[in-house]
Amino acid sequence: MTALESVPRREVTPQARRQHRKQMLTVLAFMSPWILGFLIFTLYPMISSLYFSFTRYDLLGKPKWVGLHNYQFMFTQDVDFWLSVRNTLWIVVVAIPIRVVFAILTAMLLVRANKAIKIYRTMFFLPSIAPAVAASLAFVFLLNPVYGPVNQLLSKLGVANPPLWFQDPNWSKPGLVLLGLWGIGDTMIIFLAGLLDVPRQLYEAADIEGAGGWQKFRYITLPMISPVIFFSVITGIIGSFQYFTEAFVTSSQVGGLGAPEGSLLFYATHLYDQGFQSFRMGYASALAWVLLVVTLIFTLLIFRGSKRFVFYQGGMFR
């Protein structure tokens, strides 16, 4: 007989059942606002959009069932679909690593304790709370090829033909990367917290062993902040797949959605165009569900890979 089996079972009396029911109702009552919100604003729209994805629906007439036609159209006939996928994958593959590295380097600069450090931390964080639309418009000005201050500085530094940034399909996405790096504060602050949490005695022990700066970074800092890197990569991927505001605002300033030459047509902007400008809400719903599935797959793959690369200090609870 096990220790658990030796515990005598208590009889559940009607009074206990009533008490239990009352407790559950109290819990439900407090949870009900969230439950209602979830049902109305999350679950219902999700089920609706799944239904619409199998219909032809133009927002003005009744949805007409077309089965898998929208999905078939997406993969075989929509010229802009693959363009938007390529542009989005570019942001995922290029921008996220750059953001993570930049955030780590910035956080490492700000981890030192001195009097002015709080001011510097605030300065680095502030851009991240600027509204995305305002920031995008500001960067359209900053990166204006003729009168923008960036190109004027580059010209003074001797650069003969500075990039045309948002006017050039080869430089438009790097321009967005710069915009993203300017707003790195939110990611930086998380890395800062992670760096401050690294036990000092590990560095002291490494110093005693004669480890150099790179070795300490490689064998102590990186593993200890690997959970933060993991978090940043996951949230970065999710955010990048839904990349919309900056792309929408900048391209609208230089010639229209996706301009120049489709280089700023991302998946989310293509979805928006189909649903709200082309009156193809059924097809847009199909795009949304494909996006969900792909994002989920990417996230699961990274979670699976994290077992090899992420180190948790509280190892027994992994």
């Binding site: 089920i47 629906y57 927002l59 007439g61 009744k62 030459e261």
Partner: protein, 466 residues
């Protein structure tokens, strides 16, 4: 301890959500396509007091000016009160129609949406009312151009209420300095004038452009609509399919643009001209402000809408300017004087509760000369009836007159209304963007036009569907 309740709760929640979806995820409307119904409607005799709800996109000063017109309407129809709400764009209007709670009458700036509204019946077919006891003699009241962008396959589901028209603006001071005394009537004349008016700096960069032949220059200069009208290019063939590849005028348009750039800006080299022009355009000022290129004298001749006159006045420009119809291809002299015309439209949404009263208001707004003149004077758009365009009460500047003539020209038009909104123009615009930047070679033009046509045809098939 059993945890049955949360599981049951989850199941009930899911069932409720699915039931909601099945029972009516949308109020929807009948996909009637606005079926043709031309039996004349009887005169409206019911004078029961009623309040008509009106939605429009205007805000601020323009909304205040707009609301002033209802005094005249109420004086004529004292039993009808108008409840006017502004700041309502098309997406909110669509939401209202979709929810079954539309306004009685709606104004839209989205001339590209009319085809969709007509096709789905979202806006009511007005043909029977137009032909009825309280009707309108359209041919006597409106120029033909007005009826092209307010109808779809013969159904009149909207009427015009002020409009935009496009022509050329010319910097008189620069033209005089270059010895040019008359506006260009042909594209050859435009090109010759542009050469004389263009100035280059010591580094070879353009400092003043005679004319900017760039499809994506600002929002409304060399758009697909404007260029298609300039060249008399057809958007669709008789079979209803896209004519981008089958009508040679589209190819002629693209070829003209490239040789213009090469000749005026590149010394015969299109790539060199494109590079210079690209850099020049990159320094363009805000289109809807005083730093707009023509307003600050950076461009000598430009295509623009009639609203630019208001900016010229508000920005107190120091140079003289004049306006005219845009030049046309040398082999199409008869098209000179025409242009693009399309703008604000008004209609009665499906499900309007007081449709009869709404019709009386719609008819008043779109035909009453004093109302249209009031709006034209205050909003600086083109008045949309013959009588209002001739009214001595118009206080618009003399440079406005060519736009009135352009609007009245029988060859002026917008773009054919379809059920795909502005998808056709968007597809063409993407090709124009790539052509501007020389990502499409001369030899690939026809195949690219065919691809664009195929894309439009695919979109049309998606709408009509199996």
């Amino acid at each position: 301890m059993k945890m049955l309740l949360p599981r049951k709760l989850a199941a009930v929640s899911l069932l409720a959500a699915v039931s909601l979806v099945i029972s009516g995820c949308t109020a929807g409307t009948d996909d009637s396509g606005g079926g043709a119904s031309v039996a004349p409607a009887p005169s409206i005799t019911d004078k029961t007091p009623v309040t008509v709800t009106m939605w429009s996109p205007w805000t601020g000063r323009e909304l205040k000016q707009f609301n002033q017109i209802f005094a005249g309407f109420t004086a004529k129809y004292p039993w009808i009160t108008v409840d006017s709400k502004g700041g309502i764009p098309d997406d909110k209007l669509i939401a209202g129609i979709n929810s079954g709670k539309p306004p009685d009458i709606a104004i839209s700036f989205g001339v590209d949406n009319i085809g969709k509204y007509c096709q789905t019946g979202a806006w009511q077919n007005l043909s029977s009312r137009i032909a009825g006891g309280d009707g309108i003699d359209l041919a006597k009241v409106f120029p033909p151009s007005a009826l092209t962008y307010t109808s779809y396959k013969g159904q009149q589901c909207a009427l015009p209420f002020l409009t935009d028209a496009f022509g050329v603006y010319m910097n008189d001071d620069q033209m005089k300095a270059a010895g040019i005394t008359a506006p260009p009537k042909t594209l050859t004349e435009l090109q010759d004038m542009a050469k004389k008016l263009t100035k280059f700096g010591p580094d070879g960069a353009i400092t003043t452009a005679g004319f900017v032949p760039w499809f994506t220059y600002y929002c409304c200069a060399m758009t697909g609509v404007n260029m298609g009208n300039m060249f008399g290019a057809k958007w669709y063939g008789d079979d209803g399919k896209s004519a981008f590849a089958s009508d040679p005028q589209w190819a002629n348009l693209f070829k003209w643009q490239r040789q213009f750039v090469a000749d005026v800006y590149g010394n015969g080299d299109a790539a060199a001209g494109t590079a210079k022009l690209k850099k020049f355009i990159a320094g363009s000022g805000d289109e809807f402000g005083c730093s707009q290129d023509f307003v600050r004298g950076r461009v000598a001749i430009t295509i623009d809408g009639e609203w630019r006159n208001a900016y010229m006045k508000d920005c107190s420009v120091k140079f003289g300017y004049s306006t005219a119809a845009w030049p046309v291809p040398d082999d199409l002299p008869d098209r000179y004087g025409s242009g693009s015309a399309g703008g604000t439209v008004v209609g009665i949404p499906k499900g309007a509760v007081h449709a009869d009263a709404a019709w009386l208001l719609l008819r008043f707004m779109t035909t009453d000369t004093a109302t249209i003149v009031h709006m034209a004077n205050n909003i600086n758009n083109v008045p949309t009836t013959y009588d209002s365009a001739k009214s001595p009460q118009l206080t618009l500047p003399e440079q406005f007159k060519p736009f009135l003539d352009i609007y009245a020209n029988p060859m002026s038009s917008w773009r054919p209304n379809t059920g795909i909104g502005d998808t056709d123009e968007s597809v063409l615009g993407k090709l124009m963007d790539r052509w501007d930047n020389m990502s499409v070679r001369d030899g690939d033009l026809q195949s690219e036009l065919q691809k664009a046509a195929d894309q439009v045809n695919t979109a049309l098939n998606e709408v009509s569907g199996p």
